[in-house]
Amino acid sequence: MISRRQFAMGALATTAIGLPALSRAQDGPVTLRVWDSFADEGVDAGMRALIATFEAQNPGIKIQRDAQTTDSLRPIMQTALASGTGPDVLYYDTGPGYGKVLADAGLLLPLDDAYAAGVFSHVYDWTRARTTYGSKTYGVANELETYWAFYNADLFKQLGLAAPNTYAEFLNVCATVKAAGVVPVAFADQGGWPAYHLFSVYLNNVAGKAKMESLLLEGASWDDPDVAEAIKLFFVDMNQAGYLIPDASAVSYDDAIALFTGGQAGMHISGTWAIGDVAKAPFQVGWFFVPKADGGALPPAGLGSGYFVSSKTANKDAAIKFLSFLFDPANAKVWMEQMGILPPYKVDASAFALPGLFNDAVQAVSGQEMGYNIDVLTPDKFNNAMNEGFQAVLLGQKTPEQQAKDLQAAMVASRAS
């Protein structure tokens, strides 16, 4: 039986022995926890390669990475960061319902100092706005993308078709492909989100850039004839003409891609992030921007997710160093060749081994006037109204005018909450 004095002396001795060990642990390698959504095989391999290179160049920093799907990350990120058990560096949606929510809650570290020090000086200026909430910049947006129509070039040649220059020509292409017994446009909306992108494509063309800016950035009303017209052109006219997959709300996006690459659909309107899947088709794949009525196009451009740093990180310097590495133009080759992702800065990709479509995307994004991708700039309630509302329009349960009204109501409700 030990006395209290002996116990106290023992505890003191243990602490005295332990403290140096503790300080030795703090002087050791830094472990940086990173959560991202590069869970699919190809992008996962690319990210692993980047991390391996970073660790080799920075032996004092160890990356502990956890890759999950975007859907899996969203429910857990807020609680993880708030509880202090989250990552140091996170790859997360930059939209107002995602990155902004974290920033407003004080869970993200402002990166203005890093920007001012020139760490991200080569990144396109306009991309900084995507991760700027209020007056501070919290992240670096990534995955430059646009939307266009992939088409089966072999089928088009067989039917004597060419990429359309006007919307009337586009409808003629659809009619010809349908007459040949092939689904004209592989549009599938079981998930609800593909509709956002088609809405972006059509509204940019119908409304024009100035109006898109007024809708997205200046609070103009979505209960607008142009909005209703854009909804009608695709979700009503194209559907009723039989130019879309029958029962589109029952078909998944992956099945739509499979339908196109299997040669059973003539076109697939999607983002350039689908190039990797579409390029596997056993036929030549072409592309065109969905044209406006009088020719030309205003394709929506946007950014995917972005990198942020947790405000609770104990490894701020290591986190910034990691971000600087990821966005170093020297690593563009991995982003583009292995991951099929266009980084947010100017790249000379002439020496890269890229699919032809990807090279086209690089040229298109840098050479074409671009509009706005709606869903990455709009709040959750609005996106939910798009998700369910466009399904209702496709099913004939709602008119385009009613959907436009509902979008405006959702926007008002978002601003009020």
């Binding site: 969203r74 429910p75 807020q78 609680t79 960061l81 708030a82 319902g97 929510v101 974290l102 407003d104 809650a105 004080g106 869970l107 079981q190 998930g191 609800g192 997959i245 029958p246 029962d247 589109a248 709300s249 029952a250 078909v251 998944s252 099945d255 339908l259 959750d380 309630k381 939910n384 369910e388 509302g389 399904q391 209702a392 496709l394 099913l395 349960q397 709602k398 909450s417």
Partner: protein
């Protein structure tokens, strides 16, 4: 040693090992876990249902605003209606079919063990696998259901089962019933083993037919198990989430939305955790009331009321 010492020693021994006190200590770890992982979260949820909280910033108490909004929320009532459809059809169907199949197996059909295994297999398959597989069956492009209908001259019935608002909920319900049926068969079959065969023989001798024997002899003897399965199924019906979320996400246009999927969307996609919690509280109360009513009905039936 004095004469009192053995008594003192026995008393000491009795005090040093009290089975009742020992039992409390054995239960304590489980109670602590229950408290941490159920009671505390449940009480927290009650509080959160009275807040406006986006899941990131601090919750802000907003009184009854969530509940006032909830009762005026047409989407909530639509989801609740779907839950009620699910509970009624999703309870009656597997129980009736399960009972029928278990009685068939109990009657000594050849291959009874094989059938029991086959019926039980869906229950051991992951709900995600079941949902994805049935999604392929229903697929309007390549699903075997539509192909079968067309082959048999019933092509007019072929549709986008999961994309048609008239059929989406019921198509998912069929999947859920298929996955759950095996549980009912196995549980009822076990209960049937305890039925008194002599009573059945006596009833047969008295001229009772199969239906009469089932209603008056078999059913009363398996009533406790039947009640348990009904209560379990009803509560499960109010809490259903996974199969619906995987197959339709509550669509198209909310046609298969239930309270749990609406709660998930409100909490994690619209950053309205406070409102989502209020939705889940309402569902908890409804499920609890349904279970109490079911148990009360069973007790009244046994008492002959």
């Amino acid at each position: 040693m004095s004469a009192t010492q053995p008594m003192v020693m026995r008393a000491r021994e009795a005090r040093s090992f009290d089975p009742n006190r020992a039992g409390k200590y054995f239960v304590l770890p489980a109670l602590l876990l229950y408290g941490c992982f159920f009671v505390y979260p449940f009480l927290s949820s009650i509080y959160l249902s009275f807040t406006q909280w986006n899941g990131a910033a601090a919750p802000v108490f907003n009184g009854l605003d969530n509940y006032i909004r909830l009762f005026g929320d047409a989407r909530m009532w639509g989801a609740l209606k779907n839950n009620l459809i699910w509970v009624v059809l999703g309870t009656i169907t597997p129980i009736v079919i399960g009972l029928f199949l278990s009685v068939l197996l109990w009657s000594g059909a050849v291959g009874s063990l094989l059938f029991r295994i086959v019926y039980f297999l869906p229950l051991v398959v992951s709900p995600v696998v079941v949902s994805v597989t049935w999604g392929w069956i229903y697929n309007p492009l390549f699903g075997i259901l539509n192909r079968f209908l067309k082959m048999t001259g019933l092509g007019s019935l072929a549709t986008g089962w999961l994309g048609n608002p008239s059929t989406a909920l019921y198509a998912v319900l069929v999947t859920a019933v298929w996955g759950y049926l095996g549980f009912c068969v196995v549980v009822f079959f076990s209960a049937l083993q305890k039925v008194d065969g002599e009573l059945l023989d006596a009833a047969t001798l008295d001229g009772a037919g199969p239906l009469a024997r089932f209603w008056h002899i078999v059913l009363p003897q398996i009533r406790p198990v039947l009640t348990m399965v009904i209560v379990y199924t009803v509560i499960g019906g109010f809490n259903v989430f996974d199969v619906i979320y995987i197959m339709t996400r509550g669509g198209p246009a909310g046609a298969s939305e239930v309270i749990a999927t609406y709660t998930y969307k409100a909490s994690f996609q619209q950053n309205e955790v406070g409102y989502g919690t209020a939705l889940s509280m309402v569902m908890t109360v409804i499920a609890l009331l349904a279970a109490i009513v079911t148990l009360r009905l069973r007790r009244d039936t046994e008492d002959g009321i």
